[in-house]
């Protein structure tokens, strides 16, 4: 297990290093110099040069890459070109919206998907199964930002149960903040829960036809007992993988949902940064998102190997 973990860790580090090079190179080929963009077209060349020096743009690309990566390793993402504040601070402020939102959505999606998937699998081919599967087919087809708009229309504008957008901050109290994230989290969770319910169902159905399930039934367990004691645990392996993948989708998908609800999260930050050509912010937020995807996949791999020792021999 240790050997396997170290091997995965090495591959995590290599992936991160390559990803950082790719992100840096892509952003670096961006036409337009941030300094001249900030100062406008009438700026004097020496003013531009001074600003370039101030922003650290006057050194070679290799040097800039190394100082960017070196800084990130120490938690320093550099200084925003437009706001002149540390990017780390800007990200830290926003991450407390985006991360709880993704976790909230993941929780909701699991709470919806598990019962739905188990119910459908236990009633395979019956009307209950067909209804749940039909609903998931629809759930997958619904764009989450459109569903978000419907939620706003019904629960914020018509019923006035929730506010239509904005975020009061965690200082206002846990439940006040959580309430502000509820509609966005539901919107994010719906399509993901539909996918997860389908995975849960098909994974359970695969397990139900296994020999050990027949043995469990043969030794006198009822269908339901066999399902809960032996089936569910084994069916969770593929479900966990999908949940790992979903977390990254939820984090990235949050970028769009944040736009619908005017939430001050990473998504808003990145769009503001794009329009202001604040490339260091774009670079850093993208790196953070990619890092979280790679990290979650790494953790899922480890969880996998812990659950199923057979997987440790594979890479």
């Amino acid at each position: 297990m240790l050997r396997y973990s170290l091997k995965r860790l090495l591959s995590l580090i290599v992936s991160l290093a390559i990803a950082s090079v790719v992100i840096f190179l892509v952003i670096e080929v961006a036409p337009g110099d941030p300094a001249s963009f900030m100062l406008g077209i009438n700026a004097q060349p020496d003013t531009v040069a001074a600003l370039r020096a101030e922003l650290g743009l006057d050194v070679s690309k290799t040097q800039r890459y190394l100082s960017w990566v070196g800084g990130m390793l120490q938690g320093d993402f550099g200084t925003s070109y437009t706001y002149r504040t540390p990017v780390t601070q800007m990200i830290a402020d926003r991450v407390w919206v985006s991360l709880p939102l993704a976790l909230y959505a993941l929780t909701l999606s699991t709470l919806i998907a598990f019962p739905a998937g188990i119910y459908a699998a236990s009633r395979r081919g019956k009307p209950g199964d067909i209804t749940v599967m039909g609903a998931t087919q629809l759930g997958i087809a619904v764009p989450n930002f459109w569903f978000a708009m419907l939620l706003v229309l019904v629960f914020a504008i018509n019923l006035r149960w929730f506010s239509a957008g904005g975020f009061p901050g965690w200082d206002e109290g846990f439940f006040v903040a959580l309430k502000a994230l509820t509609l966005p989290a539901i919107a994010l969770a719906l399509p993901q829960s539909a996918i997860l319910a389908r995975v849960m169902r098909s994974s359970l159905l695969d397990i139900l036809s296994e020999d050990f399930m027949r043995t469990a039934r043969a030794k006198g367990l009822s269908r339901r007992q066999a399902l809960w004691r032996h089936g569910l645990r084994n069916a969770l392996v593929p479900v966990l993988t999908i949940m790992g993948l979903q977390f990254s989708f939820l984090l990235a998908g949050g970028i769009i949902i944040e736009q619908v609800f005017f939430l001050p999260g990473l998504g808003r930050l990145i769009f503001q940064a794009i329009s202001a050509r604040d490339l260091i912010v774009v670079e850093s937020v993208v790196m953070l998102l990619v890092f979280s995807v790679i990290l979650v996949n790494f953790l899922v791999d480890l969880a996998y190997a812990a659950v199923d020792p057979r997987l440790r021999s594979r890479t």
Binding site: S15, V26, I140, V142, F145, V152
Partner: protein, 273 residues
């Protein structure tokens, strides 16, 4: 074939969307470049089955032309994904365990770490927002999907006798890959292609919604939704219609994908009988 309800319903939904897009090249109920402010924000009526937007433009006409954008972006993105991903997958499978295989698969893992939205953000930061950049972003995201699928499908085929026969006959790996392996993973690719197509439509809508996709004046379902957002309280139909159009297309493609899989994969068909 007709016995597959999924295929039939999915095909029908897709047909509606494709027909709408194709007809829009020749005819739309109204000219969407003409603004008709006196008739703005009308609810659905006989004259305007889906109502009018804040400029008085006919929403049905905009949906028809928007279908072109959605379909075009998704088709080209799937084309990019298949065009690059499938040869890479075949190449990796024919060198199983070798360094080419390793590089291709690790490269895939790397691309997988970039959600399509993040790729789109990077591309937009560099080149600006446009339908073309949305296509590139979704296309890049599709490459590892097809590469992995092709590789895993091809790996099991390489063990089969007819491939052995072809190798004994002296055919090169590349030739075997294209002449014998590719036709046999075709079914897998068609099914995955429909799924990626539907994901492409969703992705395009999302990107256009946040302003990273098709730019005005090209009509797009995602941008219609973005425009509708501020007016949803007094003109909900502005948001309902494009949303339902997206659902129709995506649901149609997904059902068709399911139906095709049942039809093309005999293993599953046997289970169902």
């Amino acid at each position: 074939m007709i016995r597959s309800r999924n295929l039939l319903l999915g095909g029908l939904l897709c047909l509606i969307v494709v027909a709408g897009a194709l007809v829009s090249f020749l005819w739309t109920p109204y000219d969407i470049t003409v603004l008709d402010i006196p008739n703005k924000l009308q609810t659905p009526s006989l004259q305007h089955p889906f109502g009018t937007d804040h400029f008085g433009r006919d929403i049905l006409s905009m949906i028809m032309i928007g279908a072109r954008t959605s379909l075009a972006v998704a088709i080209v993105a799937v084309g990019i994904g298949m065009g690059i991903g499938v040869p890479l997958g075949l190449w990796a499978a024919s060198n199983k365990g070798g360094w080419i295989d390793e590089i291709i698969m690790r490269g895939n893992d790397l691309v997988f770490a970039f959600p399509s939205l993040v790729i789109a953000i990077l591309i937009t930061a560099v080149m600006g927002a446009s339908a073309l950049n949305a296509i590139i972003a979704i296309g890049i995201f599709n490459i590892p999907v097809f590469a992995r699928l092709t590789r895993s499908g091809a790996l099991s085929l390489w063990e089969r006798e007819f491939i052995l026969a072809a190798r004994v006959a002296g055919k090169s790996k590349a030739r075997i890959s294209f002449e014998h392996i590719l036709p046999n993973v075709g079914n897998l690719l068609i099914v995955q292609g429909t799924i990626q197509f539907s994901l492409g439509i969703l992705a395009e809508a999302g990107l256009s919604y946040v302003g990273l996709g098709a730019q005005p004046p090209i009509p797009s379902w995602g941008r219609m939704l973005a425009d509708a957002q501020t007016m949803v309280s007094f003109a909900p139909h502005l948001a309902m219609v494009p949303g339902l159009a997206i659902i129709t297309a995506v649901l149609g493609l997904n059902l068709m994908g399911d139906g095709l899989r049942d039809l093309l994969d005999p293993r599953i068909r046997v289970v169902r009988q």
